[in-house]
Structures are given as structure tokens and as C-alpha cells.
């Protein structure tokens, strides 16, 4: 919405700041879910199982995806058109791959006999990872937009575009870090 002229007092861009607050808010939701997990676990009757390996691979993939996306952002700032586009596409594809691996992880859990509607210990993993996947899907949408911009518009660097890319990159890093938190949480809180 370009219609309102923004008076910038501080150096931080209001839209970027909006994103940071939204991230804090999303994190609170996962804090709520993981606290529920801890409280429920303390209540006993808790089925223990090992996480499917697919989640380990997906963790590695999403970290690499974040790294590539950051390369793309660096390249954009340095005006390197080719590497900016290539890294962006690679990050996007790895993002999709992450979702595929998550889905595969759920089928692995099902094969292990951990059902969605079984013991809450399994249900929590399904629900929390699914809510996370929904947020990744939002990130995929943002990456897709960034990719369409990158591939269809003439390449040049200005503040508006840098900000837009920065917001996309930051959100992607956020869902990445969020998953690392959840992955570690699931492994530590068995």
C-alpha cells in the first residue's frame, strides 16, 4: 500500500518492524503449544518414540535453504544478477523439498504405529509440525512472489526492492529457526 507516505523517524522500516512483531506473535503460539506439550507430558500416560529420520533430513534441508537464500540476498545487494536469481530458485526448491520431507516424516510416523489420533505424545508432534508447515507454506508463497519478481522484472537495486527481499528473507529465516527450535525440543523432551 503505497498510498500513505510513511514518515521514517528511525532507521527501521515500518513494514520490516511489522514482520518482527508478527514473528514474535507466531512464536508465542508455538511457545503455547510446546508448553502444552510439557504440561501434558508431566501428566503421565505418555508414549515414547523416536522421531522419524525424515525430520532430521528436513532440518538439514531447511538450514541449507536459508543459507542459499541469504547468498541470494547478498548477491542482490552486490548487484550480481545471476547468482541472485539462481540462489533464490535453489532456496525455493529446497523449501518445497522441506515440505515433502515433512510429509514423508508423517507417513513414517504412521508406519511406526504412531497415529494422529493416538497417544497425545504423537498427536502433539503431528499438530505442531503441521502448524509449522502451514507457516512454511506462507514462506513458500512469499518466496514464489520474490521469484516471480526476480525473473520477470528488469534487474536493478533500489530501497523498495531491497526491503521487500529483506522481509521475505527474514521470514524464511524465522520459520527455519522455528523449526530448529521445534526439532531440538522434540528430541530433548522425549
Amino acid at each position: 500500500m503505497s498510498s500513505t507516505v510513511v514518515v521514517q523517524k528511525s532507521k527501521i522500516d515500518p513494514k520490516f518492524f511489522t514482520l518482527l512483531i508478527a514473528c514474535a506473535s507466531i512464536f508465542m503460539m508455538f511457545a503455547g503449544l510446546t508448553s502444552a506439550y510439557v504440561v501434558r507430558q508431566a501428566g503421565g500416560n505418555w508414549l515414547e518414540f523416536t522421531l522419524p529420520d525424515s525430520f532430521t533430513y528436513s532440518t538439514i534441508i531447511i538450514i541449507i535453504s536459508s543459507v542459499f537464500l541469504h547468498f541470494s540476498y547478498f548477491s542482490f545487494n552486490k548487484g550480481k544478477e545471476a547468482s541472485y536469481k539462481i540462489f533464490l530458485v535453489v532456496a525455493f526448491i529446497m523449501g518445497l523439498f522441506f515440505l515433502v520431507l515433512q510429509y514423508y516424516g508423517w507417513t513414517q510416523m504412521e508406519n511406526m504405529g504412531i497415529m494422529f489420533n493416538g497417544n497425545p505424545s504423537g498427536s502433539f508432534v503431528y499438530v505442531i509440525s503441521a502448524v509449522h508447515a502451514a507457516h512454511v507454506l506462507g514462506g513458500i508463497g512469499a518466496l514464489a512472489m520474490a521469484m516471480i519478481h526476480a525473473l520477470s522484472l528488469d534487474f536493478f537495486v533500489n530501497d523498495k526492492r531491497r526491503n521487500r527481499l529483506k522481509i521475505t528473507v527474514t521470514y524464511w529465516h524465522f520459520v527455519d529457526i522455528l523449526w530448529i527450535y521445534l526439532f531440538l525440543f522434540f528430541n530433548v523432551q522425549r
Binding site: S3, T18, S25, G32, L33, S35, V39, N117, N119, P120
Partner: protein, 614 residues
């Protein structure tokens, strides 16, 4: 001191103001062109504020009418309700003799919907949505919100939530009826109650949309306050209204996502067969498939939002009342920084006291000690606020108008309702008082009626800004005195009922010897409720009549206030200020200083002026 009252504000802003090149971008007016973009899908914060206000008023009327129906049942259980059949239809059961009684199932639905509607739709969306939207950009000197588009979405998500909830009122199995807190297992099991069928499905979907609305709004408010303040508007020069909206929004952003998480698990339990909240349960002789859930878990998640939520309701009105009391007593607010600190302290404490709603849930009594202590500590910042309000009034040159009367009434109600909170915060006394009318009286006074008084004060005070006209003062004063007396007549006797142990949410007390002698008291309460409702009708008539026929505002600063919203044209267009943005030189509470009645924030510090606040 030169003659400050002689200064032409428009000229001052033109010369001293800050040019943000707003009017060189004419696309700013593009979205105000047609009827649809100006009144319906508006992205102007002032219009969105009015949308929130009017939608909130519609919901307030629906919620209040519901309370009248169940008050009728409580006050006059023997009376014939067949006359309500044209409106309530099958919910009035008419027997062979032609005598109509309220369906017991629907009684619970009414109580539930009254709570849900008032807490979420009226006092959260209707209150924060209205005043945060109206006042944040105007008082910090911004053209609009940081993201007008998200702001518009916030309203429309609220509207969607409202529509879904409204539809649920017309289901053949009735709306949700398990209490506004929606505790499992009752809320999860369709076989347990009619209201837990489609009613609960729509209720939970509606609430998820509502959470989205609050978050979009809150994110916007925080960003706007922190990023879009005009030149010179440091944080310590913000009016207390803006401080309270900022803190409210932060509390909402941190607590509502947790509610979303809780409702998400509710939806999984209801529709996808999981057992987060459902333990081994027999119902109708049948064992459920669910194993291993915990109903208490829901209570923890719910009250982690639920307690901050009551502060989300009351904090904005604290800011509104502080501002109005200072203006109407022509004195600086007493203890400005203490007011900000106490707001922050209250909101911080609100996150660590949630389990005081759960003392009777079988919690470990050693853990309750922790929650008792922090609950009682909330009395300290609350007392600071009350002390400062009274000190602001003390020796003030008080102007008694509708706005200031409601603000003073607010302080009275906040004290009366707040003191009983100290009783309820003690886990031992709570054994007797839990789930009685004492609780009902407590929270209705302290966050229901008090929040309404703050809202009324705000409406009377900022009506000229919203519509360029005044509301009728005489009717406003009748509204105030009647509502004050009526509200106390409704809720004061309920303390006695509660101490005697009369439980809340009961349909009838006929079969209880211990409570049956309170019939007269219940009649009085019901009559007072009807009396109070009709005064609100008077307010509505005053509001809508004044919107079109009220006395026109001729002075851009009718109350002699210092804040920036009164430096705009009387009917501000999109972008709020015609030319430059105002630049701020002082805090907003320079009243009765150096022989001047008031010195607006845009006036530079004069030579020889005493400085009381940077």
C-alpha cells in the same frame, strides 16, 4: 510568556510544521473516491474506527438483550414468557395451559453468548478497535496507520467472526452453551449438550478469525506508535491514551496466539479424533475412544490468554480516563511516569497470574501460593493509578460534562470492583466464593461496567472529532446518573448473593432451600437491569441523532485540550492534516501553567517558561 491563547494554530503548523510531501502524492486520496472505498472497504483509520464502534454497538445491543432475557428468568421465574415466542421461537416452551417458559438449554446458550459477545466483540474489538484506530495516528501526528491495508483486514476479519457467531444464533441445536470459557470436555462432546454440536463448531471458527483480527490490529498499532511518531514526539511526550493502546496491543500480541493454539487443539479434538483434552470418559453409558487427554491443560492455555484478556479490556479505558480527567480538571495528570510504569507493571503481572481462575481445579495448593501472591501484587499498580486519578481531580477546576462524569464514575466502579478482587485472589476465600455471584459482581463492576464507562467517556469526548458535532449534554448526564445508579443496583446486591453461596449460571433456585429466599433480591436486580438497558437506548438515540443533528463544532479545540488531534481541521480528511505535519515541543499535560489555561503540544517552549516535564 507571550499570549499563547492568541496563537493561530493553523499558521503555526504551516510555519513550524514538518513537510513530509504528503500532498504531492495524490494517490493518497484514490481510495476515498467512491461510496464503497470510502465507507465500506475504507483504509482510513478514522473510518475504520467508526466501523469498529458501530459494529461493537450492534453487538452490545444483542448481548444486552440476551442478558435481559436470562435476568427475566432469574428475577421472575414464574412469569409467562409466551410473549417472547415470536422472537425466540422454539426456545420458549409453551405448555398445555399456554404458559411459556425459557428452555433450559437456551438459558445456558444465552449466558455463554452474552459473555463471548461482550468480552470479545464489544469490549475488545469495539473498544480497542475504535479508540486505537481513531486516536493513535491523530495523537502521534501520523497520516494513517503503518499499514492501512492490514488495518482494513483487521476490521473485516472481525466482521467475518461476527457473522459466523451471528449465524450460530439461528442453528436448530442452538448456539454454543458451555460458558464463554468453553471448558472441555463439555465443549468437545456433541453428545453432551446441544450447544456443543454445530454451535461450538461455529463458535471456535469464529474465535479463530477473531484472533486473526486482534493480531492484525495489534501489530499495526505497535508499529505505528513506535515508528510513525511526528517530529518531537518522544515516547515520554505521548498522551497516556497512546501509551495504554500500545501496551494493550503488546499484551494482545503475546497472549492471543496462545488462545489460537488452544482453540486449534480444540478443533483437532472435536473433528480429527485426537485426545489433547479428553481423558477416559463414559457418556450415556458408552466409553469414548479418547484416552489420555487433560482437561486442565485447556484451562491453563485458555487462562494464559484469558487473564491478560481482561487487561486488554481495561487498559485502554485507563488511558482514556487519565486523558479526560486531566483535561476536565484543567490540571496536569498526576504522576505521568508513574501512570506509564503502573500500566506496564499491570500488563507484566497479567501474564503470571492466570491460575487464580483455577484454584478449584485441583491444583497443587503450593503452586496456588505463587499465583495468590502475584495476584495480590496487582493491587499495588492499580492503587497507584487510582491515587493518581484522585490526585488529578484534587483541587482541580473540574468541568462536569458527560465525558468527565463518566470518567469519574469509572474511578468509582474501578475501586468498588477492584477491592473484591483482593478477596477473590486469595485461594482460601475462593473456596467459598468460587463460581458464585460474588465473582459475577466483581468482574462485571471492574471490567464490564468500568470498561463501558471508560468507553462512554471516550465516545462523549471524541464524538466531536469523529462526526464534527456534539452529543446532547443533558441527555448525556441523564445517561450517566441513571447508568451509575442502575449498574450499582444490579451488581451490588450480587455480592450478598455470592457470599451466601448462590452459584452463578444456575437456571433456577426453586429447588434450593438455602437460596430460595433471595427471590426479591433477584427481582430488584432484574428491574434494575431493565432500567439500565433503557438508559442505553437513550444513549443510542442521542448518538445517532447527534451524528446528523447535533450541535455543530465551530472551535477546532472544543475542550481546550493539548493533544494533536485537536490541531487538525474539524472534519479531518484523509491524511489528517491539510498541509504540514505538526511538530511537538512539549508533553500533552501543560494545563494551568504559568497563567495559561492550556498550552497545546505544538507550541514551542516560550522564553522564561518553567519546565516541568521535558
Amino acid at each position: 510568556m507571550s499570549n499563547i491563547s492568541q496563537i493561530d494554530q493553523e499558521k503555526l503548523i504551516h510555519e513550524d510544521g514538518f513537510n513530509d510531501h504528503f500532498h504531492e502524492h495524490h494517490d493518497g486520496d484514490k481510495y476515498q473516491m467512491g461510496f464503497l472505498t470510502k465507507y465500506i472497504f475504507s483504509m482510513d483509520h478514522k473510518m475504520i474506527a467508526k466501523q469498529f464502534l458501530i459494529t461493537g454497538m450492534v453487538w452490545a445491543v444483542i448481548g444486552a438483550l440476551m442478558s435481559l432475557v436470562f435476568r427475566l428468568q432469574l428475577g421472575f421465574p414464574e412469569s409467562d414468557m409466551a410473549w417472547l415466542r415470536p422472537i425466540l421461537g422454539q426456545w420458549i416452551v409453551v405448555n398445555d395451559a399456554g404458559v411459556g417458559t425459557l428452555s433450559t438449554e437456551f438459558y445456558y446458550a444465552l449466558v455463554t453468548m452474552h459473555g463471548t459477545i461482550l468480552v470479545f466483540f464489544v469490549l475488545t474489538a469495539g473498544l480497542s478497535g475504535t479508540f486505537s484506530n481513531l486516536l493513535i495516528p491523530l495523537q502521534i501526528g501520523a497520516r494513517d496507520m503503518a499499514s492501512p491495508f492490514l488495518n482494513m483486514l483487521s476490521y473485516w476479519f472481525f466482521f467475518l467472526a461476527g457473522i459466523i457467531m451471528f449465524i450460530s444464533l439461528f442453528l436448530s441445536t442452538g448456539p454454543f452453551s458451555g460458558g464463554w470459557t468453553a471448558y472441555p470436555p463439555l465443549s468437545l462432546l456433541p453428545q453432551a449438550s446441544d450447544g456443543s454440536k454445530a454451535g461450538m463448531t461455529l463458535w471456535s471458527i469464529s474465535m479463530v478469525f477473531f484472533v486473526v483480527s486482534v493480531l492484525l490490529g495489534g501489530i499495526n498499532y505497535v508499529t505505528t506508535v513506535l515508528n510513525l511518531r511526528t517530529k518531537g514526539m518522544s515516547m515520554w511526550r505521548l498522551p497516556l491514551t497512546v501509551w495504554s493502546f500500545l501496551i494493550t496491543a503488546i499484551v494482545g500480541i503475546l497472549s492471543f496466539p496462545v488462545l489460537a493454539a488452544a482453540f486449534f487443539l480444540v478443533i483437532c479434538d472435536r473433528s480429527l479424533g485426537t485426545s489433547f483434552y479428553l481423558s477416559e470418559i463414559f457418556i450415556g453409558g458408552q466409553a469414548l475412544d479418547h484416552v489420555g487427554g487433560s482437561a486442565i491443560l485447556y484451562q491453563h492455555l485458555f487462562w494464559f490468554l484469558g487473564h491478560p484478556e481482561v487487561y486488554i479490556i481495561i487498559l485502554p479505558t485507563m488511558g482514556i480516563v487519565s486523558e479526560i480527567l486531566s483535561i476536565s480538571s484543567r490540571k496536569p495528570i498526576f504522576g505521568y511516569k508513574a501512570m506509564v510504569m503502573s500500566l506496564s507493571a499491570i500488563s507484566f503481572l497479567s501474564f503470571i497470574v492466570w491460575a487464580h481462575h483455577m484454584f478449584m481445579s485441583g491444583m497443587n495448593p503450593f503452586i496456588t501460593n505463587f499465583f495468590v501472591i502475584f495476584t495480590l501484587i496487582i493491587a499495588v499498580p492499580s492503587a497507584v493509578k487510582v491515587f493518581n486519578w484522585i490526585s488529578t481531580l484534587y483541587k482541580g477546576n473540574i468541568r462536569f460534562n458527560s465525558a468527565s462524569l463518566f470518567a469519574i464514575g469509572y474511578v468509582s466502579l474501578f475501586i468498588s470492583g477492584g477491592l473484591t478482587g483482593i478477596f477473590l485472589g486469595n485461594s482460601t476465600i475462593d473456596i467459598q466464593l468460587h463460581d458464585t455471584y460474588f465473582v459475577v459482581a466483581h468482574f462485571h463492576l471492574v471490567m464490564g461496567v468500568a470498561a463501558f464507562f471508560g468507553m462512554f467517556a471516550g465516545i462523549y469526548h471524541w464524538f466531536p472529532k469523529m462526526f464534527g458535532r456534539f452529543m446532547n449534554e443533558t441527555v448525556g448526564k441523564i445517561h450517566f446518573w441513571g447508568t451509575l445508579i442502575g449498574a450499582y443496583m444490579i451488581f451490588w446486591p450480587q455480592h450478598y448473593l455470592g457470599i451466601a453461596g448462590v452459584p452463578r449460571r444456575y437456571y433456577s433456585f426453586e429447588n434450593f432451600d438455602a437460596f430460595s429466599h433471595f427471590g426479591t433480591m433477584n427481582k430488584v436486580i432484574t428491574i434494575a437491569a431493565f432500567f439500565t438497558f433503557f438508559l442505553q437506548v437513550l444513549f443510542l438515540i442521542n448518538f445517532f441523532y447527534s451524528m446528523y443533528r447535533g450541535r455543530k463544532v465551530t472551535n477546532p479545540n472544543p475542550w481546550g485540550a493539548n493533544t494533536l488531534e485537536w490541531t487538525t481541521p474539524i472534519n479531518p480528511g484523509h491524511g489528517n492534516w491539510d498541509g504540514n505535519l505538526p511538530v511537538v515541543h512539549r508533553w500533552p499535560y501543560d494545563y494551568s501553567k504559568d497563567g495559561e489555561d492550556h498550552i497545546p503540544q505544538i507550541i514551542p517552549i516560550q522564553p522564561g517558561e518553567t519546565v516541568v516535564h521535558q
